[in-house]
Symmetry: C2
Subunit: 112 residues, 2 copies
DNA sequence: TTGACATATTCCGATATCGGAATATGATCG
DNA sequence: CGATCATATTCCGATATCGGAATATGTCAA
């Protein structure tokens, strides 16, 4: 047993910088494979392969227009990631110290 | 040229589920290597190895206490991740549709 | 139908990654 | 010092991953 598989979930999908680049471009609107390639200076097969990974975790969807494929962002798939980070949001402010102080005060007010 | 290296940035560090597990535990407070191993049912070397990765991206820091090492979360290192996701936050609400409607209204009010 | 174009897939080589076992390091205690 | 405990590192095998090149698929247009 080795290597538990990866690339199959959102966390791994966005771990790759190129894929984040692709998503960033798509944030400004739909785009075809060739357009993405040109903007990111990536050869077409790479783009297609990254898009496949993104498609498999539902981060992008595509629409067929003639012989083109127009990809668009599907942001809701980022939710798990967002929710996970959010749990830590409160923790990186040093303002937590103030919260500690506040809690101490509250305890004094009602020493129970 | 192949495989551009990974595991060296926050995005890759948290791509691994076990490492997220470790961080989740540390969210509740400091912990030693053995404690982490017991709570997560992981053998000690794995824990140490994952902690190393997390340490290298500054997601955890550690303090030496006798022959123990007490690890703690260093949440600010999650910032890049947080910032990245945040740019997408607005995009996954279907409420965007309403925004579109609003914009249309505004355009009618001032049709120039 | 044939050719041109857009995209997807496959094959390849190099390398990173993970888990497991064994071992090394380091510190405390008797 | 020697034993023991806590943690880190190294070595290994299996496999996933990425980039690049070549090729397959699929669609339109003449």
């Amino acid at each position: 047993m080795a290597r538990t598989a990866t690339t199959a979930d959102v966390f791994n999908a966005i771990a790759e910088e190129r894929r984040r680049d692709i998503l960033d471009v798509l944030r400004d609107g739909e785009a075809g494979v060739d357009q993405l390639g040109r903007r990111l200076h990536l050869p077409q097969p790479q783009v297609s392969k990254h898009l496949r990974v993104l498609r498999e975790v539902d981060l992008v969807r595509c629409r067929v227009v003639g012989r083109h494929r127009v990809y668009r962002l599907h942001a809701p798939a980022l939710r798990p990631l967002h929710d996970w980070v959010r749990a830590y949001e409160a923790l990186w402010n040093e303002r937590l110290d103030r919260l500690d102080g506040l809690l101490a005060e509250l305890q004094q007010e009602d020493p129970r």
